[in-house]
Symmetry: C2
Subunit: 490 residues, 2 copies
């Protein structure tokens, strides 16, 4: 029987063939696209290692490195993997653990155990990498070296005792494995659909708990509890952003210096951006809603401007479309609504030319999503490069869409003091802003509506299932209250 | 008004004077104990930095480095701190953040903001460290360099642009700051008492949820939710250990390779070792109880053997007592009970000499606890060194106890196959084991009872508040069921 990843009977069973298919795709692509001969050529990948918390004997909570997860789906730290390009075989190398490990960390699994569990062709210990590759006649190793276009950091290139005895090519693998990761298989889509569904349900649970007096961090706690207990998601792919009131305008709120510590107030909008991680795969969903469950007119105005932008993109997005065009469509649609509501004045095309779109939405429309929340492949060779122009330079990709891509669509509208101050002193932008109207939105926060979507052959499938219209949100929040007991209920 | 750390109104307010007192203690101790002249001498500490998750643009969930937390209580990454030994002043250096930070991460706090919030004497930017120290006439810098006796890793010694222009002493600071950390102040004890209380309540909540069919990870999720939502603890100090059945015998179960994924079965014992972290301070509590709420005779037998060991230590522990003696007392008491119950035969003193205690409890009686769960100071110069003898070599400290120390007391009894196999083939040990009796405990798991205690002037205060006797546990588990909805209840 095939081995799979699950947490009890109630969570998704992820078959290990998901990772085998990924390996097969990579091998096929390398054979097809690269000018490297397959004979005696091996891909070699190094898995993640435990990272100690400073000098202590505890570690950061381990999650597998994404390229290794994609190709082997292995839960343990300290492994390596190899792919024999000519025989199309996979080899997993696991650490040879000391006997004492059995006392502290549990049963010492055999090589046969690992082979069965992860569905690879062969298994050896990591101290046998050189010998194994030599025995198999390897002469050229393809290692992973490339720059992540979101972080600017380089991937960890495999290194092991004796690697110097092989020829190493570190340029071929990175763009090809990234291209593979950009297009999701049916099995990967199953996992993404699951983690997005669980994260949607968790958001809905949180929405029913929310009320003035609740701490932002209590919403975070409830989300984490739901995705783990119900969904089997031990990790999130990014720190939960639970901004209320003014904090909703801080794009990456929730970090150590701004740790979701405010108490929700009556009249606040909430912007909660949270997503679970299941078997390495990410969700990334934002819900915006009033803390007290009832939108004011101003809240409706801004919310609907963002929702209209989102709907415009949802209706236009399909294979062959440029992501940059989708971003501009969202921005234009939103600015048009802000003009209709009296906050802006003038020609929307001219507003766009002046870069006003970047004042109200200083981030891109969305990003590729997969194992990483900001997934790889945004700016690879052969695709449009990152623009330097205001309004589109923040986009995490400028690619033409293809079926099988998974992306976030996340238009937003924020009232960020430093940006508004800049715009008001810039005659090119200030002429579009109705100052008397803007005043009451100072410190107001922001709105983001973020869905996770799959590009299909004909259009788009929205994987996210949360209340989205004003009416749906108000109805959902009014209909029932969550049972979780809070300190203030005592 | 003094600034403090809290999460809403319902969690403990930790005054920033806690950290000021720590700084004052360190300065006084350095002046008293070291032969370094205070004139022109500055302590310089480097705070924790964000650690990226491999090459991605997300980070491991930041927690402050412990020495820096102890002396400054600062939540933000990337800071430095200095102490002027002669003027007895504290200086905090914070990163100079780019203007764009305001968009992504929130308000740019001023130096004055940081000074007020953390109650330090002066604040500067980290790019001004050299200039500031030069302006103050610093000539000697005391930096932190020392080996953690639990991990074998070295502390991060401060480094900054221009440090080469100062004389640096990296040997004096480490043992002195560790000695300070060993003895807790009244304010630190308040925080520890709080986080142990919250963690106790969370354990009790989990106990009422437990039943056959529940996933180990669902117990972990409920614990994490309680400590965060009710207690304001965003982090744990170590990965939750939620072992059931055989897994209860794996001392550090719960890691990535054994991630609390089993489903509880009728007849299992549970061994749940979990503790919250509040304002940097740790709790570390283990509760052992039957999954179905009712002890079998065998479960009672082993549980009471461990409880008796724990009670013996609780009654004996006080200032002036050797921790090694406490460990041996616990082991002897437990082996005596195992003999009385018919599992062992022969003279208990002889069993101890043969190292049989290490077969059933292959870990130490407990450890110092504070900011780190295994806190620093276990093996410092001037105190007993780590023994190499079987039965006591695993102890994380061999010190003579002092009032103000906080430690765990955590005797345990485990049935670990590889150790039992060793013992049965070792004539020196096998002669004490009644094989027919042992058979039914193979694969049975283990018991640990772990309390967090404060050494007082006259004895000990147990900070932990959970049901401990068989009767208390059965009563607590029977009395009420937790409301949390589980997937299997759907």
């Amino acid at each position: 029987m095939e081995s799979y990843y699950a947490r009890g009977d109630h969570t998704l069973k992820v078959p290990m063939s998901l990772f085998r298919e990924n390996r097969e795709r990579l091998i096929a692509r390398l054979k097809r696209n690269s000018d490297v001969s397959a004979a005696k050529t091996f891909v070699i990948l190094q898995g993640g290692i435990e990272v100690p918390f400073n000098d202590t004997d505890t570690n950061w909570p381990f999650r597998q490195e994404s390229f290794f997860q994609w190709s082997f789906g292995v839960e343990e730290p300290g492994c390596y993997g190899a792919l024999d390009l000519s025989l199309e075989k996979s080899i997993l190398f696991v650490p040879r653990l000391p006997a004492e490990y059995a006392i502290w960390e549990g049963k010492l699994h055999t090589l046969e155990d690992f082979k069965k569990r992860y569905g690879v062709d062969e298994t050896y210990y990591t101290d046998e990498i050189k010998k194994t590759l030599k025995d198999k006649g390897a002469s050229l190793l393809l290692t992973l070296h490339g720059k992540n276009s979101d972080s600017g950091l380089y991937s960890q290139e495999a290194i092991f005792d004796g690697i110097g005895e092989f020829e190493v090519n570190n340029t071929t693998l990175y763009p090809e494995i990234c291209e593979c990761r950009v297009i999701k298989t049916a099995k990967e889509i199953d996992v993404l659909r699951y983690v997005v569904k669980i994260s949607s349900e968790a958001h809905k649970t949180v929405m029913r708990m929310v009320r003035p007096g609740l701490g932002e961090f209590q919403a975070e706690a409830a989300f984490l509890n739901y995705i783990y207990s119900i969904g089997g998601c031990r990790h999130v792919s990014y720190t939960c952003i639970c901004g209320s009131g003014h904090n909703a305008s801080i794009l990456h709120y929730g970090h150590a210096g701004a740790p979701n510590s405010k108490i929700l107030e009556d009249g606040d909008m909430c912007l909660f951006d949270m997503g679970g991680n299941y078997c390495g795969y990410a969700a990334d969903i934002t819900c915006s809603f009033p803390a007290n469950g009832k939108f004011t007119d101003d809240q409706k105005f801004i919310y609907n401007a963002v929702l209209k932008a989102r709907d415009a993109v949802m209706n236009a997005v399909k294979p062959g479309v440029s992501w940059t065009d989708m971003h501009l469509l969202a921005n234009e649609t939103m600015l048009t609504s802000l003009k209709e509501g009296g906050l802006l004045i003038g020609d929307v095309k001219d507003m766009m030319k002046s870069g006003l779109n970047e004042i109200f939405q200083p981030h891109g429309l969305g990003h590729l999503m997969g194992l990483d929340v900001h997934d790889v492949g945004g700016y690879l060779p052969g695709h449009p490069e990152r623009s330097t122009s205001a309004g589109i330079r923040k986009l995490r990709t400028a690619r033409t869409l293809l079926a099988g891509m998974v992306l976030t669509i996340e238009p937003g509208c924020y009232f960020i003091d430093c940006l508004l101050d800049d715009a008001l002193t810039n005659p090119n932008q200030s002429r579009f802003i109705v100052r008397e109207q803007l005043t009451r939105f100072r410190g107001w926060g922001g709105i983001r509506i973020e869905d996770d979507v799959l590009i299909t052959e004909t259009g788009v499938e929205n994987l996210t299932q949360v209340p989205r219209t004003v009416e749906e949100i108000e109805h959902w929040m009014a209909e029932g209250r969550n049972e979780l007991k809070l300190p203030q209920d005592k």
